[in-house]
Symmetry: C2
Subunit: 352 residues, 2 copies
DNA sequence: GTGAAAGCGCTAACAG
DNA sequence: CTGTTAGCGCTTTCAC
């Protein structure tokens, strides 16, 4: 009868079956334009009967909108970025868009390659965690885009979304104080990483607000990894100190590494050393003791980024950065030194 | 001069600039067909000069190959599936293909929706972790596809790739025996899940091989979550038992939950209770003690799935299942009872 | 309200 | 080896 046994049905098949023209069928299918109710019904029925499915390639080609969005993150395997991807995915799907996901491994060359691929795929726009610090050609990605992550913050004029580090640090510091830790030590990322400066700036701001001299705060740095945190903690413990040690790690992996170092030094967390992290990765929940940390809203960031991207695509210039609030997750890695035992208080953070 | 200030350059712009015809330009750009070296050079230069980039939408439309692949997994946020996605992503990129990623949340309806979206996007094929157990319409996805994960194993005639559960269980059991644990208890998934049966079958096979009566093995089940594992462990500990308890959990999350239950019961892992998991998620590394487990090769599964999918697309019917070997990761959650100290063996679970 | 026709950017015969 | 000619499936004027 019909030759649609092998071919996938096209709009022409639907039109023929409904006894209308291509364009009428298109109008009915797209739900656009003025069209007779009865005609529309007929077309829709014909479409269902033939098993017609819109060819998005063709739509994209003709309309200039592919219905696809790109996402370039450092590593989909990383729990934080996985959350971001999930949020973006869900929000995109909600609007009928699909997401092309790529991992850059913090490598500028890979990032460029992937953006190129996205451009050729004619995605309508892209969400990118920029790895390259040193070039402002970002403006010439050649497609609508939105940045995500803390590394994006420095591009003030570019639409971006990330966690509110200032608020996060304040949350952490206030919590530490509430537990009787007044002068924590810090484990931060390597100097090369943008996020480090951002984190330290927030710490500094907070100290100024609270009339604390940032100079007295001990600090060690290392890679944003378990091993980096472990070594930094080791160095911290080698420093002369008295009483309870409290550490604020700029990243959960480092915090977990620090925890290991504490154990390896024959000390106990939280009895001897208190640790607070930053990220909210699942592993923190299973560590022993559970890692108290400040969780970034990964999923919400993904959702929000897609929304910003839509604005960008539709030329609703909402330029500027959106800061998403973080939240504290209390688990067991923090000792409570605030209990009103005079002796206890003196033990304190060692700042006599 | 040229009007290509706004429009993105097309193959026509390149052809004009190189002084050749559209098709010659196309041939040069695609690297296909016979073409004069010098002409090709000229075209390539013209392309570079105009900043031409192939429009994959148009290519896909004309050639019938979109250069896109779909991936439908339960949850990109889950560490195992994240690994799979990453492997697939990398392998696809290697061949110049892009990956559309979707999460189904183990929901058959979502799965169907996503497959529909992929079909409309005209992906060349899809990699799917099938959630629906009860329909064989899989054959009518309407596009080339490959299954992944253990739930796919029952579709013997469909190309699929997953971990080798039989080998994994053997690896685990042998390791337990080598540490002096001869009759472990089991924590397995809910009856509704396909993977459970697959796991138990492997255990059974192993027992038969080793002349062990599977009937003597204690078993509890629960959801594949931390909470599921915790409750199952609780029930296991309530059972009458003497000496050291050894537990083989069918999933790392459950194993981690079991570890919590042990701690909550005032017991110690591994002194009183030994635990071995199955998955290889990162959290197991940070738990205390570190979780000994059998790791599935998530990334390799992703890579392999893409390769199988290419075969499928190219009509190289390699139908059948590919089993990827798992590997043992030794950490600290297993007591070594094999040391020939009679006392040790008797010390056991300490709950007299 | 509906149809005819043009064309998005590219590839694939088919001639030369 | 290169140019000409058709479309791929759809949207979108522009008539009627």
């Amino acid at each position: 009868m019909n030759s649609s046994r092998n071919r996938r049905p096209t709009i022409i098949d639907v039109a023929e079956r409904a006894g209308v023209s291509k364009s009428t069928a298109a109008r009915a299918l797209a739900g656009s334009g003025n069209i007779n109710d009865e005609t529309r019904e007929r077309v829709l029925r014909a479409a269902a009967a033939t098993g017609y499915e819109r060819n998005h390639l063709a739509v994209g080609m003709r309309s200039g909108r592919s219905g696809m969005l790109g996402l370039v993150i450092p590593d989909i395997t990383n729990p934080f970025w996985g959350e971001v991807a999930r949020g973006a995915q869900d929000r995109a799907a909600e609007s009928g868009a699909s997401l092309l996901v790529f991992s850059s491994d913090w490598d500028a060359a890979k990032e460029a390659t992937h953006v190129g691929t996205l451009r050729r795929a004619r995605v309508d726009g892209a969400i990118i965690n920029p790895v390259a610090d040193n070039f402002d050609d970002h403006h010439r990605f050649g497609l609508p885009f939105v940045f995500i992550g803390s590394s994006a913050e420095r591009f003030a004029d570019i639409s971006s979304v990330g966690s509110d580090i200032t608020q996060a640090v304040r949350l952490g510091m206030d919590h530490l104080v509430s537990k009787g830790h007044f002068a924590p030590s810090f484990i931060v990322g390597p100097k090369s990483r943008l996020a480090r400066a951002r984190f330290l700036r927030a710490v500094h701001e907070h100290c100024v607000e609270r009339d604390i001299d940032p100079g007295i705060l001990a600090m060690e740095d290392g890679e944003y990894t378990v091993e980096g945190g472990r070594q930094a903690m080791r160095r911290l413990l080698e420093r002369p100190h008295v009483g309870h040690v409290c550490v604020f790690a700029a990243n959960d992996m480092m915090a977990l590494g620090a925890m290991m170092a504490v154990r390896e030094a024959g000390l106990n967390c939280p009895a001897d050393v208190s640790i607070i992290g930053f990220d909210g990765i699942p592993s923190g929940e299973f560590a022993w003791p559970g890692l108290t940390t400040i969780a970034k809203p990964g999923r919400e960031i993904g959702v929000r980024a897609v929304e910003q991207l839509f604005d960008e695509i539709e030329h609703r210039p909402e330029h500027g950065r959106v800061y998403m609030p973080c939240r504290l997750i209390e688990r067991g890695s923090l000792a409570d030194l605030s209990v009103p035992t005079p002796k206890r208080a003196a033990t304190g953070a060692g700042r006599v």
